[in-house]
Symmetry: C2
Subunit: 590 residues, 2 copies
Amino acid sequence: MATSAPSSSSGDPDPSSTNLRPPLSAYDSWCGVAHGCTRKLGLKICGFLQKNNNYEEKSRIGGSLKDRQTSKTLFSWENSDSQLRRTETDFSNLFARDLLPAKNGEEQTIQFLLEVVDILTNYVHKTFDRTTKVLDFHHPHQLLEGMEGFNLDLSDQPESLEQILVDCRDTLKYGVRTGHPRFFNQLSSGLDIIGLAGEWLTSTANTNMFTYEIAPVFVLMEQLTLRKMREIVGWPGGEGDGIFSPGGAISNMYSVMVARYKYFPEVKTKGMSAAPKLILFTSEHSHYSIKKAGAALGFGVENVILLKSDERGRVIPADLEAKIIAAKQKGHVPLFVNATAGTTVYGAFDPINEIADLCEKYNMWLHVDGAWGGSLLMSRKHRHKLSGVERANSVTWNPHKMMGVPLQCSAILVREKGLLEGCNQMCAGYLFQQDKQYDVSYDTGDKAIQCGRHVDIFKFWLMWRAKGTIGFEQHINKCLELAEYLYNKIKDREGYEMVFQGEPQHTNVCFWYIPPSLRGMPDCEERHERLHKVAPKIKALMMECGTTMVGYQPQADKVNFFRMVVSNPAATKSDIDFLIEEIERLGQDL
Amino acid sequence: MATSAPSSSSGDPDPSSTNLRPPLSAYDSWCGVAHGCTRKLGLKICGFLQKNNNYEEKSRIGGSLKDRQTSKTLFSWENSDSQLRRTETDFSNLFARDLLPAKNGEEQTIQFLLEVVDILTNYVHKTFDRTTKVLDFHHPHQLLEGMEGFNLDLSDQPESLEQILVDCRDTLKYGVRTGHPRFFNQLSSGLDIIGLAGEWLTSTANTNMFTYEIAPVFVLMEQLTLRKMREIVGWPGGEGDGIFSPGGAISNMYSVMVARYKYFPEVKTKGMSAAPKLILFTSEHSHYSIKKAGAALGFGVENVILLKSDERGRVIPADLEAKIIAAKQKGHVPLFVNATAGTTVYGAFDPINEIADLCEKYNMWLHVDGAWGGSLLMSRKHRHKLSGVERANSVTWNPHKMMGVPLQCSAILVREKGLLEGCNQMCAGYLFQQDKQYDVSYDTGDKAIQCGRHVDIFKFWLMWRAKGTIGFEQHINKCLELAEYLYNKIKDREGYEMVFQGEPQHTNVCFWYIPPSLRGMPDCEERHERLHKVAPKIKALMMECGTTMVGYQPQADKVNFFRMVVSNPAATKSDIDFLIEEIERLGQDL
């Protein structure tokens, strides 16, 4: 077996215990901080506060550790020794009400959070360990009945913190390790440590993107990052607009809304009855969110016209033009074309330039759904696959897919400034006051269809800082190399058939595994029926064994096939080899 | 000054340092776990794995700490001592590429994450410390120019982990402490420790809600929690449907979509032109998201009819009936009424029963927007304010507001089963295969307008476990008591005028502060103009001092007034007193 799994057996900690750690006299984080630091510099105090309180604004000093240790005797925390030392804690007699803001809740709070972090760091460690299962599969009824005491019920009375810690362990135990090197099931996979740290900080900051007032740093980070993304798309100076939204489907929905607003702004006020019948075009291989948007926004699914694709899943521009003309002949108005950069199943890139020519010719909005493939813009080697993207009016790009940013992180970029706001603005007086003391153009909330908006930017910004553009590029190139490796490995291998011929454009490798019992059977209905059942059966066995996960689906007249994708930074060639061996092991007797 | 702030001065750690902790020989989390545990029980191994790997499925054992310590000599981790001990780490020479999944990246990973946790727990601690500022205000241009070296730029090359840690500290330093006991600016406030732990776990699990396949535990938690919420709404047996969405605005949008689908299902296919002109009704005090939904979904804002409210902000049912009749006379079809349970500014509860009578009479969909006020259903004392809610067809309820769940956590509940799915289903073959090995009715993704969906349930479920229903009830009752305290304190106090008379229904207390210079001035245009500027000016000063934050806004013909709300579990009467003193301090000379 070609796998790099170490031969050691590593045991899970006992999930029912809460006091695993032996007494550690100096295990303490706040304490450490308190000892190593503090000084007063750059004191700036409001008049009132000066009299009544001890507000301090500390500025950063670049002093060495030694300097700081010297200073501790001058400015040590009054409460550091008594409250912040790590101690054995009996959580069975503690409850949520004993944590901060409870009086004297500091110690329990830090002990509890450290215990949680212990569980999480253990999980992180095991996630990357190939001797750990990807999942420990159970059916819904099994989990609902209570696995070994794992009880999901909610009750009137509180549970102890000990039970809460057990719940945390159990939740992870029965979940799926999406960061495992052998998890290939979704376009989003991997567990980026910087991104994880970013999410932990985001949760701790617990704020909301609608105004600069309560999210000054995050609002600016979003603005700078969106500009950078627009530069990479190729819009001069990174000009334009954009927003992070809760996923690619919503980003695509934004593109349709903005297109409608651009051409028929009166729809905002008067509704769809103010416009003629508007037609949206997207390929039969495109993501279903365009149809969802068509249904939700009042266009109707039958006015979302599906375009034919070639055998590789790329839209056929001539079919688009024929359908534009047909729509116009019916008196309908072709409004919007979605070109997909990286289709969900085949990973195909529609020919953007040819589509852009037609959009210009017929005065239509061009959207590029790069939820999956947009990230290839970060790679000098692969960005040519999106050639023409700079001609798009809007672009969806999900860093939470190919760039490994934790879920969720999706951007909608719009070339023309002001449309997002014009389209969605409702001028709520209680949020977007115009008489604030700062430049209120930074209050971005009125661009959104949401009111409150989760902070999705920080983890992405932090990852970009930590990896640099070059780090993302390397990751993307590596994933594409792994996909190429898989393609070359199986394209002529006995027992495999490729769903489409030629090297994949993205990391999607689509193939059938043909069990020995079907090899040599003529291409007939019976073979189709039996082959259709192979991928689901292998997938079910994989999940029951917990060894790996990969997706499958039918597509049009093609029976169920595997769709392998690589976006996980932890994956190596050995994991690709493992997948193939696993498919053969589980499928050989089907 | 009536405040419980301790008189001690507590210094921030030096934000530029990364090695604050003195060498601690036993500071180690994984190591502790490794020592205290492990055993093999319930071994279940796939045939192949048995030969090639050491997959184990451990079951929980209930042994005491002593038992576990005894067992460690038998099953200690092979790698525990070498890799998992806390060490002084120089992050200036480490980069993201040195962390897991990098070879031998375990130690750096744990050290880095522990350093981040150190920053975060320090932040948590300070958040509850009243000697800490709520915010350290800077204008956008100041932050963009680089505050004391805080640089937001993204570059091609990676930054060291030391710089990443500095970035984390700076991000928190220049942000807003929304969990601070004196942060009253939004409906969402507070920093719940259990919820925080839940979010940290959610980020670590990094999965997606669309299928049971990759989120088995979270999908079941969502289902059970939604059922519980529906029971509390009063739907028999908790029957019905629902989903967690990215905020109250989207939840409200769902309600409009589902109502349209119920009465005019053909709109999904044919678009809005298949339906007559459909009218939505909502009060002039309701949240702007109903108008946003009207605009986005193709109804048009002018078909969202605003209803008159009484002086307390509650909708006037007679006005609704008059407007229903007027719409019908124009040949339009009244489709949907939104009753607000807890308006954003006044905290008013619309009379649901009277509105429900009209909805039944005219065969309309009744939605209750309880984003803010829905949580009062958890309080036996206050739930009568939503009397009639069980007659609603759909309910929005945001646990991230009054229940203190970290952002984001919003539910849309629908009384009739199947509508959400019918409305949004697109049957994507690559996600929602019908030939999976488990009961695919648990794949909830096709109910959503999103494709991927963030896991918002876990933190809420965990908080419910930790507090019990009774814990939420106590929190809600306490917040309402604090609001009552504020109301009683200022209603007859010199220099205050209430925006509406009588005790508030929710925690919203709306008032003008009248500076001495305006007291006694007759009610004229000049007074209006000057009073309009008072709240923004005080707010600006508050933010510059960083002492507290409270919202203000105009409403219809009423000039800017303060809207105080309480949802923060950390707030006490002393914080209310502080707010009033602060307003008077900052406003006395205006």
